[in-house]
């Protein structure tokens, strides 16, 4: 990932800043510039999600991608935020603690790094609430 690409997404990654359409009251994450339902009639505003939600489903990664080897095995889940949208995120806890429907909350963690001398990527993960 280039530095500029990460930098552009800092508000979303650090603070779960998405968007809210005030016309149809739908919430979006990642943020959209246009409401797919209301189209031109939609009025979008930035929205900071509370960071609480529940696990819709999850998997345990044993064969990790490059750069994540030290974290394996780790839990990767689809999380439905209380405001509505779903996102993919890591749930930091033991595999035995994972359960579909479990409540989670967001935390600030290291997501990865470019290399030993490259930039460090920070952002949101989840832990059991």
């Amino acid at each position: 990932m280039t530095v500029a690409r990460f930098w552009r997404k800092i508000p979303h990654r650090y603070n779960l800043i998405g968007t809210h359409c005030t016309t149809c009251n739908e919430y979006y994450f990642p943020p959209r510039t246009m409401c797919p339902t209301c189209r031109r009639d939609g009025k979008m505003e930035p929205h900071k999600f509370q960071g609480k939600g529940e696990v819709v489903t999850y998997t345990v990664i044993h064969t990790a991608a490059k750069g994540y080897e030290m974290q394996a095995p780790y839990n990767l889940a689809i999380i439905k935020l209380d405001e509505g949208p779903s996102l993919t995120g890591q749930v930091v806890c033991g595999q035995e603690e994972m359960d579909i429907g479990m409540r989670v909350r967001s935390v600030f963690r290291k997501l990865g790094e470019e290399s030993e001398k490259g930039m460090i990527y920070y952002g949101t993960k989840f832990v059991p609430e």
Binding site: Y14, K110, M119, I120
Partner: protein, 346 residues
């Protein structure tokens, strides 16, 4: 103008390693070490935790506890001796993560274990001078100890954040006093992974001389004595040093008991004294007086005299307390600990 603590927050990773587990690897006598250091276990950072993530979690806790509008923060200073970047501020990442950008000043501090209290003093100065409304001072570390070194038994992970202001105070900081000399008792050179230290030299000419001088200096300045305080907290590199220095100064074991978290936490370096203070604020009531003295090798001590206000009751339960952060730990063996601390490379 009264200056003090508007809110505070602490963070400790969930992972722990027991002293016995470390001693087993190096063939040391665990009971003798536990008896000498008065530390039973220490915190270990998660694989995805570092001084920045700890600083952010503590800072968010402080913002939430006091229901503070983060855009009011005019300064963020983060003290640590384990900043993940050698060049690139921890404090700007904290500013973005708590929503304080962009109208503020920020910088990283380093002064061994007392960089966080130096940040508190700086915020006090800026608030007192009217240059900022409120400021955020953080002490956070994932401290390093070389494999087999005495430091490995105590070097832990954790941090605390304090929002300093002049209104809506949960505690008034009546005064602060520092004692600083060039004493090379502990250091880490640029690019080196682990610190070096002077062994027993860190004790008398380092810790005891500076803590005692700063503490007596502040009490002389204010005309107070140990019995005027309900609580006292001193830098906790182990359990023995703060107990000995408090006794020497005339404080009782009862006064230091609440803030002495080191036996279950280890030495969180820049976070050490500040987490101890948080543990006291978690329990203190209006009118309680707290005496705090931090120590950083190199060397210096910052002493503070603090009085709790009635606002503590409003904010105390709005964020995790230190006791809650120390509960529910996940214990690990030395191999997993070595992995968490980056001592295993792949």
């Amino acid at each position: 103008m009264k200056v003090g603590i508007v809110s505070y927050g602490a963070y400790v990773p969930r992972y722990r390693i027991k002293i016995e587990e470390i001693a087993k690897v190096w063939g040391d006598d665990a009971l003798s070490i536990i008896g000498g250091l008065k530390v039973k276990e220490k915190s270990v950072p998660g694989l995805d935790e570092d001084a920045i993530t700890i600083a952010v979690e503590a800072a968010r806790s402080a913002v939430n506890r006091g229901n503070v509008d983060a855009s009011r923060l005019g300064a963020i200073y983060c003290g640590s001796e384990s900043h993940p970047y050698a060049v690139k501020p921890t404090s700007t990442i904290v500013a973005a993560a708590v929503g304080a950008e962009p109208n503020l000043t920020a910088a990283d501090f380093e002064f061994a274990c007392k960089a966080g209290t130096a940040a508190i003093q700086t915020c006090m100065g800026l608030v007192g001078a009217g240059m900022i409304d409120i400021g955020l001072a953080i002490g956070a570390d994932v401290s390093q100890g070389a494999p087999g070194d005495a430091l490995e038994y105590t070097a832990a992970a954790g941090g605390a954040a304090y929002i300093i202001g002049s209104s809506d105070l949960a505690a008034v900081i009546e005064d602060t006093y520092s004692f600083t000399t060039d004493t090379p008792d502990f250091w880490r050179r640029e690019g080196m992974p682990y610190p070096e230290h002077g062994g027993r030299f860190t004790g008398e000419p380092g810790y005891f001389k500076h803590v005692t001088s700063a503490a007596t200096g502040l009490m002389d300045k204010l005309g107070t004595k140990p019995s005027d305080y309900d609580y006292a907290v001193f830098h906790q590199p182990n359990g023995k040093f703060p107990q000995n220095v408090s006794r020497k100064l005339g404080f009782t074991p009862e006064q230091i008991k609440t803030g002495l978290v080191v036996s279950r936490l280890g030495n969180t370096y820049s976070g050490s004294c500040m987490i101890g203070l948080a543990a006291i604020l978690d329990r203190a009531v209006e009118g309680d007086r707290i005496f705090m003295t931090a120590f950083g090798s190199g060397a210096g001590s910052d002493a503070f005299s603090i009085t709790v206000t009635d606002r503590i009751d409003e904010i105390r339960d709005m964020a995790p307390k230190v006791e809650e952060l120390l509960n529910n730990p996940i214990y690990m063996n030395y191999a997993t600990y070595a992995k968490h601390k980056g001592k295993i490379k792949v």
